[in-house]
Symmetry: D2
Subunit: 344 residues, 4 copies
């Protein structure tokens, strides 16, 4: 059964709205290996495109989907870098604009202390992505896509906040499906009420919502705090959601569909290089399956596999796999650990 | 028939959220008469409490309703003045807080050029009312009231914007009715998209919506521009609205109820001192009738009468009438002009 | 002896740089008398041009001097009012520009509690005068004047701060004398170090410095705190000052000249309406005498008389006297109290 | 002859006030060589402490001088890195404070296009160094040093601007010598008038001034534009300067002493890795010689040698040489090119 009916006549499969940033990760390659250590002691860094929706745009493109990005980048060499990177992959950049008031691309310096401990140092003062504004939102562009994905970070500050809400309002009146990736980041938010206000506003309009238990708690604070997963799913189904995906980290995640079913998956076992980056692989894989019309449990398995592949990597974008690599990974994992290794 | 069912067990009839300001009007009284002239040539001014929701709080209190105000005023003598003025009238001020960062009460200097031409010069840089913030919103207070009135101006800037939205969300989960007085003022808004985003967000949750045709156009821009009054009313009835009042200035106004009826009224004939101030009289009178359970047409007539009384006055608050005065005014107008003078 | 040699060939006697504002004073005239009372209880206000350098520009013009004003006013009716008021008096307004970003004229609401107790409520958020910027400063204009008067308030914030400093630097290289009226107002300053830095920077370059003991203390904090009047005067004489006037309120004031002399004066006895406004009368009168080449003691007496005349008035600008009125006042006071009434 | 008499009883040789930042340079070492290329194409970066006064603090410390740093760094791992780096070198960090409002260390990404073409991409939105404020300036600390070096970049914005000026005022009243390294960087400055105002203010109080011809032009704009080197030197000698060093890039530089002498030097020939970084080596070497009481021409030669050594390097701090290395470099260059290779 197809829970979300995309308009197959549309040019773009998916537009992604939100932040694109640059990740500076401790170098870890054939030439240089910065082993686990405090950030202050790292001398050599590798530069990658980053930012959750940017990563997902790379991920779905690797699976052959036609994606476009709606965002704002700096008017400098780093802005050039991002646009060139997207162009080379085939991600449409026609709706990426340049910041006009000295705003800079967000930077993320990752600190990798061990397989499980990592942290990040963010540069997000006057970040270019948060300068996206309502006049940057083009209705024709939104109308040309099957769906738009909103990254919750875009809601953290004006005018990006209003740009994202406008995009959702235009999507609603043009039958462009809305996918909400809550993607909570503490920076730039001022208080919890604000988070609940804006997350819930988008969640009410969304066809697909993806987030962790903590992210759903933040979203629901002013509506009904303290709900469990089933209650959360029921709430959002009572609005517009067809599929609600709630994640519990290493314990796995569950998709709740609006016909009352639920489907669960857990991570594939791998040796992690870092404690983050899995989520974007998960989103890329899950959405690919959804667009293919797969059964939900297969979408989840594919997403989970892609997530596990990404936590092994030193980056969150460059190493996103093509479709065959994910199938191959699943096959090998199942051969090693058994057919049901990720299914709950 | 009662379109809005208030919980009669609640302590407060109405909480009003938004701006309270000070009006400096050209003096016009027994001692000094500043006749119609450019503002720069006015030498003597009279000081009054002003700001739409503040005026309505005075108006409904004059009719014996129990009102409370949710707002922020300056930490100076003008803030003292407002609170003392409210206290003396019996308006609850327990939820009026003081601005902590030098924000000042908004000031409105009115220019009266003729009976029909007037303008205003606003001081609203770092206005205290727009510093109202989510932490100033108290759920118990909202739960203690039959309804909350949101003035649209409160949505113009953060953090007042989020304070107002939070108040509405808390009202919804506590069965406190929501009355939305669109009350558009150009100052402080950055662009039209913003206006449509936030007005429509509140309108969707409201039981009663009151505004001019222009204000409904602003509200609906990102949903469906170009609707006529019937279409607008239908849209908001499809959400939560029971009564939608759309005003056309001197041509009169119409209330659309969610049972498909409509009721129209026009102004009573008077000699105007100024072209503004009527709206707050209208709101005060209409809401009083609504709380009394009157037929909608009687609510409208009472509101229209109070509006006409106020455009004759030199201020927008002090001269708001008590109930008997409005009845008396209606009686005299009808004796002079005929029973159906205001009814369409 | 002439302590300051003005270039008599210059078109303007004096350019004044700094704030012009609007004073709203409790009405006190034939029609309405707001007696001493808290500001919150005052109902009727009179509007006057205000702001120390604006008042002094009016004062010296009343004495027949040719003055020009360098400042920024709001792009609204109040800005029109100020420019029209100056134009009518003959004060040159060619170098008054309009604020472009919504800055508003500062407002001063005066509270008159008794003859000796008064306070003010200031509106100075995004004040137009502090938006004066270096590009507003015109070297040819400065070169066309015998002297420029800098009001210390102009130094409180950028870009007005840099505009004032630029004006002084251009004055120095064009032999335009510099008169520094310290005119300390707490608003807008961030800390005491800032005050000392910028006051002392201008004081070092000034030919004439006028201020209270407290103002000199603020100026000298980072150079040598705790000096007495003689030490202060010696310090500034060691830089460029020819005349240093230090005021002690009701106890009188003293002018220190760079030839080591000192001259003292005290106020003339009057019944005061308010505790402020005297300083600008003092400055106007003193500067008039100085330009006339009078003995310093006569300049002081004339200034002191004008100060006493102004504290009796309900405003700080409109009632500034013409020359004959001051002479007349001095004559009458001396007849009543004796020839030496103000001299120490 | 000693042009500047330091108080030899002081604990610190030199305090340096201004920015410390982080340089991310394209990796160029045994493991990874990022050859000349556009910044967007660089994948691997090396991290170094940077910022002109920070580099000079490293440079003079390498020569055995006792230095302390007055600045503000971020409250994050990069702030830790800087403090730890200074601590390890023996630079006093007791007067480095942490930014409290999310300000971040400035970042400099260097683009190396060829030996002569390079550019930088700066992250300086809400830079921590510009948050240094007057209350961070400690008179006892300044009194404990022979001299303080002010980097002109510290003057670009408040409150760092006022912190630097306060430091100079406290230096003056405590006989701590003032060294002004103009160090012009376009970022953060708003207009040319501002630059002239604040540079000239510090230059007037300085014992030693170092800058390029362009930097002196910026400094002198509001005093006397269009001067040549001799006129500039004479101007500053007429204030407090004992030594004025004016640089002309590859053409060499000249020191003007207040006894009317002048001494010139030119660069030593080397193969450059980058077009910047020489200035800080020059400053470090020149100041070391000055403290040793060397003849001015020898100070210049030593500084010029250290400059040439640094343009060969991939960084501006780590590779600053110890004294012996500079002597050795000079010896080798002279053997190869002749005794007078750098002297003009």
């Amino acid at each position: 059964m197809r829970y979300v009916e995309f308009d197959e006549s549309r040019e773009f499969d998916l537009l992604l709205l939100g932040r694109v940033a640059i990740d500076f990760n401790p170098a870890y390659n054939d030439q240089v290996k910065e082993e686990f250590k405090p950030l202050k002691d790292v001398h050599t860094f590798e530069k990658f495109v980053g930012g959750s929706p940017a990563n997902v745009s790379v991920g779905v493109t690797r699976h052959g989907m036609k994606a476009g990005f709606i965002g704002k980048v700096s008017a400098d060499q780093f802005g050039d870098y991002v646009i060139e990177y997207f162009d080379n992959l085939g991600i449409d950049t026609s709706n990426i604009s340049r910041a006009q008031n000295g705003e800079k691309l967000g930077l993320t310096f990752t600190e990798m202390l061990s397989e499980k401990e990592s942290s990040i140092l963010m540069y997000r003062n006057q970040a270019a992505d948060l300068a996206l504004s309502p006049e940057d939102i083009n209705e024709d562009y939104i109308k040309s896509a099957k769906a738009i994905l909103i990254s919750g970070t875009a809601l953290a500050e004006s005018p990006s906040r209003e740009a994202a809400i406008k995009a959702v309002m235009l999507a609603k009146r043009n039958n462009t499906k809305v996918i909400f990736d809550i993607d909570y980041r503490a920076y730039n938010w001022k208080n919890d009420d604000e988070i609940s206000i804006y997350y819930s506003m988008i969640a009410k309009e969304s066809d697909v919502i993806m987030g962790s238990r903590e992210e759903f708690d933040l979203t629901e604070k002013l509506i009904q705090p303290g709900m469990n997963d089933e209650e959360s799913a029921a709430l959002w189904h009572s609005h517009n959601a067809k599929i609600v995906v709630i994640k519990h980290g290493m314990k796995g995640s569950t998709a709740y569909t609006d016909d009352g079913q639920q489907f669960s998956i857990k991570p594939f076992p791998v040796n992690a290089r870092k404690g983050f980056g899995g989520g974007d692989g998960y989103g890329s894989g899950f959405l690919y399956g959804l667009y293919q019309g797969w059964d939900i449990i297969d979408c989840l398995e594919f997403g989970s596999a892609e997530a596990s592949m990404m936590v092994r990597s030193n980056n969150c974008s460059d190493d996103l796999p093509v479709t065959e690599e994910v199938h191959e990974f699943i096959k090998m994992e199942k051969e090693q650990y058994g057919e049901m290794i990720a299914r709950i």
